[in-house]
């Protein structure tokens, strides 16, 4: 199964998102390079609003991800509660 990935600007707004991804996706690999944090996962990666809210203790709108998003790879499905990247093949 190929990897999906997502990358964010490495900053304080991205930190709880990355923490939430690591909590929800045990196979995710986080790689930091200057200014950037990239997360790879085999086949599927899910970002959950609730997990981010648990990290920060305040409401979060998943569309806010776009502000610090840099790039992604995989089929995207987004609703109010989850942001999912996946490959079927």
């Amino acid at each position: 199964m190929s990897n999906v990935f997502i990358a964010f600007q490495a900053n304080e707004e991205s930190r709880p998102v990355v923490d939430a991804i690591v909590a929800d996706n045990p196979e995710a690999q986080v790689v930091y390079s200057p200014g950037l944090v990239k997360i790879d996962a085999p086949g599927k990666l899910v970002i959950r609003r609730e997990t981010i809210e648990e990290q920060t203790g305040r409401p979060y709108d998943l569309q806010q991800l776009q502000i610090n998003l840099v790039t992604l790879s995989g089929n995207l499905d987004e609703d109010d509660d989850t942001f999912t990247l996946s490959w079927k093949h």
Partner: protein, 513 residues
């Protein structure tokens, strides 16, 4: 986000459906075909426009809110960078030449693509795709502005940044970018989406805007990096738009497959032919090194594109025809491109140099199968000539490919000693190409390319066959470039001496100690 998040009364899916679908009506006092005259002539068949959905489900109100937020963050960084004179904190003034290339080649192409997208957005019959394409048009205008503003900090202190629009129209080494943009502008709306959103953005732009930008951050340039990352957040959306549109077209009508595949073959290759500059920036212009072009290609192109096409195979699509050759060239592209730029070092608006010993060693380590064998000896030869006072300059006019307009410097797949030449007869004339793929693009649409404006031809024509040696060098004067300041070797240039006189690079050197 500085605004508090409020819980909304409708779900994201409901808001998206309400604000992007059913906005369309059937016109009565003019026919639909007169209102939308361009979205059928290419031969694409769409049966049900309502099936197109943006996977980000972005609505116009959310779009402007998030874009506003991105701009505020970006301009705070650019201002802080300028207020702290961070232009002197970059690793080395050689690095600034990469900013010049971004301003000369990348920013203008974004401007041109914004115009093509605005036209495309107007002329699609489907409302949801129209909304998404219009957002992409605004994004590209924003990127042009952001890149220009981010570079303007440097324009106050360095040469070669003052005339990007004039250079884009005239300079021979930017012709591949200009020609790409013109080719997009003169295509139909569906071909444009396959060209820009799918082939260019989803397959190739990560190389410049992700690993290269991270490298630029490593070199202390947060101004360009902030613009680059901010722009690529929009491009993540453009990628999805491109992929969704390709899937949509392939499920609308079986006859669409052949057209879409031909466009992907064409536009992957045209986009790939913009990569020599990016490859060279990655391997030769980032003074503090991090990742090679080859690694960047493997991680950000090879792996994700193969994963994407494994997925798209269910729709009958295969990898673009030029794929194997493009992957093969990862060992060579940056070195061959730098060789062209060095050879024409007085006919381009950036400075060139021979990498220092530790940099050559780094290239050896990153390219164990190609650099030491093919490219290091040539650089050593140039360095030796330069030391003897005979700096090598290429005095010929480059022979340019009729389609991609790159000089013919690409080598055959599997044989880096043999330059690839192809030619085709058409209406009694011979046309020359850098590759089978450009040859095929020409043969599919000869009327589009047979009268292409090639810089070398134009220069020869203007001088009526007179002295050729310095034509290229002189041609840049028309774009307000001054030889000796904006062109030539970095060593001893004004950029070099000024940076040193002004104490540039000290922070970075101290940080390394």
């Amino acid at each position: 986000m500085d605004k508090r998040v409020e819980r909304k009364s409708h779900s994201l899916g409901e808001r998206y459906a309400a604000m992007t679908h059913d906005l369309q009506w059937e016109t009565t006092y003019q026919s639909m075909d007169r209102v939308f005259p361009f979205d059928r002539y290419e031969g694409i068949k769409v049966r049900d426009w309502s099936k197109w959905e943006d996977p980000f489900r972005l609505t116009t109100d959310a779009y402007w809110k998030f874009q506003g937020e991105k701009e505020k963050k970006l301009y705070a960084v650019i201002e802080a960078f300028a207020q702290n004179s961070c232009q002197f904190g970059v690793s080395d003034a050689r690095y600034v030449n990469a900013i010049k290339l971004i301003l000369q080649a990348i920013a203008p192409i974004k401007y041109s693509l914004h115009r093509s997208l605005a036209h495309t957005g107007r002329h699609l019959r489907g409302d949801a795709l129209r909304v998404a394409v219009q957002m992409q048009a605004s994004d590209n205008l924003r990127h042009f502005q952001n890149e220009t503003h981010a570079a303007s900090v440097f324009n106050k202190y360095f040469n070669g940044l003052h005339s990007a629009p004039a250079l884009f129209d005239a300079a021979w080494y930017l012709a591949p970018f200009k020609s790409f943009a013109d080719d997009v502008a003169s295509a139909g709306p569906f071909e444009r989406i396959v060209a820009i959103s799918f082939s260019f953005e989803s397959l190739l732009t990560d190389t410049l805007f992700v690993p290269y930008m991270s490298g630029a951050a490593h070199n202390g340039d947060l101004s360009i990096v902030a613009a680059g990352f901010s722009g690529q957040s929009d491009a993540a959306r453009h990628k999805m738009l491109g992929i969704e549109t390709v899937k949509f077209l392939l499920t609308q009508d079986p006859a669409n497959l052949a057209l879409v595949q031909r466009w992907i073959d064409k536009w992957f290759w045209r986009s790939f032919r913009l990569m020599p500059i990016v490859a060279m920036m990655q391997d030769y212009m980032l003074s503090k090194r991090m990742m090679s072009w080859k690694e960047s290609w493997q991680r950000f192109v090879e792996a994700p594109v193969e994963a994407l096409f494994a997925e798209l195979a269910q729709f009958g699509l295969r990898l673009p025809t030029g794929w194997a050759q493009a992957c093969d060239s990862k060992e060579h592209l940056s070195h061959q491109a730098w060789n062209v730029f060095y050879g024409y070092g007085d006919a381009i608006a950036v400075h060139t140099w021979i990498p220092e010993t530790d940099e050559l060693n780094w290239l050896d380590q990153k390219y164990p199968d190609s650099f030491d064998r093919w490219y290091r000896p040539r650089l050593a030869h140039y360095a030796q000539r330069q030391a003897q006072g005979h700096r090598f300059f290429n005095r010929s006019l480059p022979m340019q490919c009729q389609v991609c307009q790159q000089p013919m410097f690409f080598t055959e797949k599997g044989n880096p000693r043999l330059i690839a030449y192809r030619q085709t007869e058409h209406e009694g004339e011979t046309f020359h190409f850098c590759s089978d793929h450009c040859d095929t693009i020409f043969s599919n649409e000869p009327a589009k390319y047979q009268q292409a404006r090639l810089s070398s031809h134009t220069l020869l024509h203007a001088t009526d066959g007179g002295a050729k040696a310095d034509l290229l060098k002189a041609s840049l004067a028309a774009s307000h470039l001054s030889n000796g300041r904006d062109q030539g070797d970095f060593s001893g240039s004004e950029d070099d001496t000024n940076f040193s006189d002004w104490g540039g690079g000290q922070d970075m050197k101290e940080a390394q100690l």
